[in-house]
Amino acid sequence: MMEIGLNHFLAVSVLVFLAGFFCVLTRRNAIGILMGVELILNSANINYVAFARYSSTQYDGQIFAVFVIMLAAAEAAIGLAIVLGIYQTFHTIDVDATDSLRL
C-alpha cells in the first residue's frame, strides 16, 4: 500500500476516465459534454506519462502527452466556438433542443 507503482497511477486514470465518461453520457449541456471530453483526455495523459516513467520507453510517452494537450486546446477552442454559434441560433445550449436535422 505504501509503495506507489504504475498501477496506482493507472487506477487514478481509470477513475478520472469514468467521471468523464459519465459526464459525456448524462450531460445535456454542450459545455458539460466538452468538460467530460477534457476529463477523458486528461486521464489518457496520466496514462501516457505514467508509462513513460515506469516502462522502457524514454520520452515517447511525454511527447505524446504534449500532442494530446495541444489537440485538447484546439478541440476546446473549436468546440466552444461551435457552442457559441449554437447559442446564437437556438438561444440554448441544451443538446436535446438542437435537433433540427432530425427527421
Binding site: 487514478v12 448524462t26 496520466i46 516502462s55 511525454q62 495541444m70 476546446a76 445550449i93
Partner: protein, 172 residues
C-alpha cells in the same frame, strides 16, 4: 525503507483531489461549480506529472489547461447562460443506465489493470526533461511537430470564422 517517505502521502493527496473533483465535474448540478471543480481535476494531474518526473508536461498542463482551456470554458459559460438560471442549466438525464454502464466499464478496466503484465523497468533517476524533449521534437518528431502547428493554425482560423457574426449572416 528505513525512513518515512512523503511520496505515498503526496500521491494519495493529489489522487484524492483529482478523483473527487473529477466526480464533482460529473455530478454537480451547477455548471459553474462544474467548471471550478474542473480546475482541481486539471491541477491534480499536474502534481502527479511532477511525481512522475515529467516537469515540462506539468508546466504545460498548468499553462494550457488551467490558463487557457479553463478560462475559455468559463467565458463560454458566462456568454451562454443567463446568470439567473445558471443553477438549472446543467441538467443530467439517464443517470441510472449511465451508472450501470460506468460500473461495467470500470470493472473491465480494473480487471485489465490487475491482470496485465507490463514490461516494467527499474525507475530511472528523475532528471530535467526539457532539453531531451526539445531535442526529440526537433529531430525524431519534427513532422508531427510541424503538423501540430498547422492544426493549431487551422483551429485558430476556424474558431474565428465560426464565431464572427457578420460572416455567418453573409452565408445564411
Amino acid at each position: 525503507m528505513t525512513e518515512f517517505s512523503l511520496f505515498p502521502v503526496v500521491f494519495y493527496l493529489l489522487a484524492t483531489i483529482t478523483v473527487v473533483s473529477a466526480f464533482g465535474v460529473a455530478l454537480s448540478n451547477n455548471i459553474f461549480y462544474s467548471a471550478i471543480a474542473l480546475m482541481g481535476t486539471l491541477l491534480g494531474p499536474a502534481g502527479l506529472f511532477v511525481m512522475l518526473a515529467a516537469d515540462f508536461i506539468a508546466v504545460v498542463q498548468v499553462f494550457v489547461y488551467v490558463g487557457g482551456i479553463l478560462v475559455l470554458t468559463l467565458f463560454a459559460i458566462n456568454l451562454t447562460s443567463r446568470i439567473g438560471d445558471v443553477s438549472v442549466s446543467n441538467r443530467s438525464l439517464g443517470r441510472i443506465p449511465a451508472f450501470v454502464m460506468l460500473a461495467l466499464v470500470g470493472v473491465a478496466m480494473f480487471r485489465a489493470i490487475g491482470q496485465a503484465t507490463w514490461n516494467l523497468v527499474e525507475v530511472r533517476e528523475a532528471v530535467p526533461t526539457i532539453r531531451s524533449l526539445g531535442d526529440a521534437f526537433l529531430t525524431d518528431y519534427i513532422l508531427p511537430f510541424e503538423l501540430a502547428s498547422l492544426v493549431l493554425l487551422a483551429a485558430l482560423v476556424g474558431a474565428v470564422v465560426l464565431s464572427r457574426k457578420e460572416l455567418r449572416e453573409e452565408r445564411g
